[in-house]
Amino acid sequence: MTDLIEAPTTGELVELLRRMVLIRMFEEKAARLRSKGLVPGFLHPYIGQEAVAVGVAAALGPDDVLMSTHRGHGHLLGRGADPARMYAELFARSEGYNHGKGGSLHMIAPELGFLGANGIVGGGIPLATGAGLQLKRRGLGQVSVSYFGDGAANEGTFHESLNLASLFDLPVLYVVENNLYGEFTRINEHMRIADIADRAASYGMAGVSVDGNDVLAVREAAAVAVARARAGEGPTLLEAKTYRHRGHYEGDMCTYRPAGELEQWLEVDPIDLFTAALLGDGVLDEDGVAALRAEVDAQLDKAAEWAAEQPHPDPSEATTDVYVDTCGGEALR
């Protein structure tokens, strides 16, 4: 199986680290910018889960499509989205990805096949499934990725979508990021099973659990699933076991966590682990790591600066983009 996917080159390894660092620093900065009042809406930080988005993205091709969640910044950046346009969207500016109409919960990057974050838990799963159906109809071997969380795996849409996808051998990769919590509820208080991948059996679908803090393991597992999907062998449910370091949203004090849990997970911080591995293998040295972090930091500073200079949308834009036209204006009043 593993020879389905080539080992990453040195450059690719460094790029994996860079993307994880980019996500981490993007989120940290976003939180700071929000506390300065630049972000009017909520943030659901992805910090701690970076290996999932980056590992999965590394297994995809340029023509694949992705559908994300409320915790979508990492998925966007993993796919290569522009942090400047992302900040602009968080700041609700016209140059944001959604021209200020969407915000964090609805962010897109259509040129990357990134079809959207989603404010409805489980809401993106049928959409990714339908995209997979259309990609199958098209027959070019494209794959649709559906990201969602452990909590979302209890929504009816999860069930209906996976069943449908399996029935039709749709080229969909369902990535459930099991970060142990749905909001403030721990997984053992919202389901009675430990491995969400086991739910794949209900649909006669392949199900795999992987260490979600190991970017290479995620990349490999995703690549296997993507290859199956491209080959017409149907969807896979890939569970990535991970943890969110911050609260459910920025500002959540996490009073619901058992003592010591965060600390345990910090020991297996995906970025630390991978950095250590790259240092150990001599792919990077300490200076290289520092330089990479400094580069990312500078990039994000520039991105945020640019974003903060972008204009606010004009109130007249409030009524555009509802329908493709106004059907003669008055008629849609």
């Binding site: 021209h99 079809l115 809401g123 649709s144 849409t157 983009d321 329908y323 059907c327």
Partner: protein, 328 residues
């Protein structure tokens, strides 16, 4: 002279659009191999095969959501909700996803789906298989709402709906499926796409305007006929699409008549008739010389017993009474 039924008209529109555009495909429960619960999709699976006509599991949220998702990447799906009542299971995918995608993405993406809503009471199918839910979608910015009353409009509007770049909720009254297209249209069944937002005066009159759509149009026409015998002249206006709604067309009629009766099968309270009445009471108040009369189903679920269903669902007599009230 051949006449086409409303069901045939919808089928032919689907077929013609599927022949024109390979991205048009159908999905729904039992619509393919076994030809659809009401036979609307009969023969399309045989003609187009499983890549164009998908028989799905019983999973309405996934059906609607898969349609929206496919539309996001270039498909032009037409999803059937076998009984529109089951759209209650798909409201998030229709209203929170499909309807809002263009807006939430600042116009970058859109979901051109058609959702076929099999609607209305048709004989003792009771509370969960008889509803008329169009007014929910009127109140869901981002979707359009089509509601043809006859075969010709059904065909023309289905073609428009499929080509519409926005999501369309397409309401089909199951009590009309076997209705033949009115004779006046029957010389040819080639129907061009009918633009949304353009109503039609089905009968001209001078005393009262009756605005109605879907099956209730026929009761309105019957009422007009009965009242004509007494010298009361009713104009019957069918907006054909509810979103967009032909305000100007209604306004022209009200300028002539000064009196308005609105009539639909959905329950009165919160029905689309309220919206029509509100538009008239704001935009055409100056034309109105009498209270606006609304006719709709009683504010109850639909009962099983035919006697009760008949009492709940409005008919000709209710419209006649409303016209008289408007003239009182």
């Amino acid at each position: 002279m051949t006449r086409y039924s409303y069901a045939t008209a919808i089928r032919e529109a689907l077929r013609e659009e599927m022949e024109l555009d390979p991205e048009v495909f159908l999905l729904g429960e039992d619509i393919g191999k076994t030809n659809g619960s009401f036979g609307v999709t009969q023969g399309l699976y045989a003609q187009f095969g499983p890549e164009r006509v998908w028989d799905t599991p019983i999973s309405e949220a996934a059906i609607a959501g898969a349609a929206v998702g496919a539309a996001l990447v270039g498909g032009r799906p037409v999803a059937e909700i076998m009984f529109g009542d089951f759209a209650t299971l798909a409201m998030d995918q229709i209203v929170n996803q499909g309807a809002k995608i263009r807006y939430m993405t600042g116009g970058a993406m859109s979901a051109p789906v058609v959702v076929r809503m099999v609607t209305g009471a048709k004989g003792a199918t009771a509370a969960q298989h008889s509803q008329s839910l169009e007014s929910w979608f009127v109140h869901a910015p981002g979707v359009k709402v089509y509601a043809p009353s006859n075969a010709r409009d059904a065909k023309g509007l289905m073609k428009t709906a499929i080509r519409d770049p926005d999501p369309v909720m397409f309401f089909e009254h199951k009590g009309l499926y076997e209705t033949k297209v009115a004779a006046e249209f029957a010389d040819s069944f080639d129907v061009e796409p009918i633009p949304a937002g353009v109503g039609r005066v089905l009968r001209e009159g001078t005393d009262v305007t009756i605005v109605s759509y879907l099956k209730t149009v026929y009761f309105a026409l019957e009422a007009a006929e009965q009242l004509a015998a007494e010298g009361i002249s009713c104009e019957v206006f069918d907006p054909r699409t509810l979103v967009p709604f032909d305000r100007a067309g209604m306004g022209r009629s009200l300028a002539r008549t000064g009196r308005l009766v609105v009539a639909h099968e959905a329950p009165l309270r919160g029905g689309f008739g309220a919206e029509i009445a509100a538009i008239a009471a704001q935009d055409f108040f100056g034309s109105l010389v009498a209270p606006i009369q609304r006719v709709g189903a009683k504010n109850t679920p639909i009962p099983y017993a035919p006697e009760l269903e008949n009492d709940v669902v409005p008919g000709t007599a209710d419209i006649v009474a409303a016209v008289r009230a408007a003239l009182a």
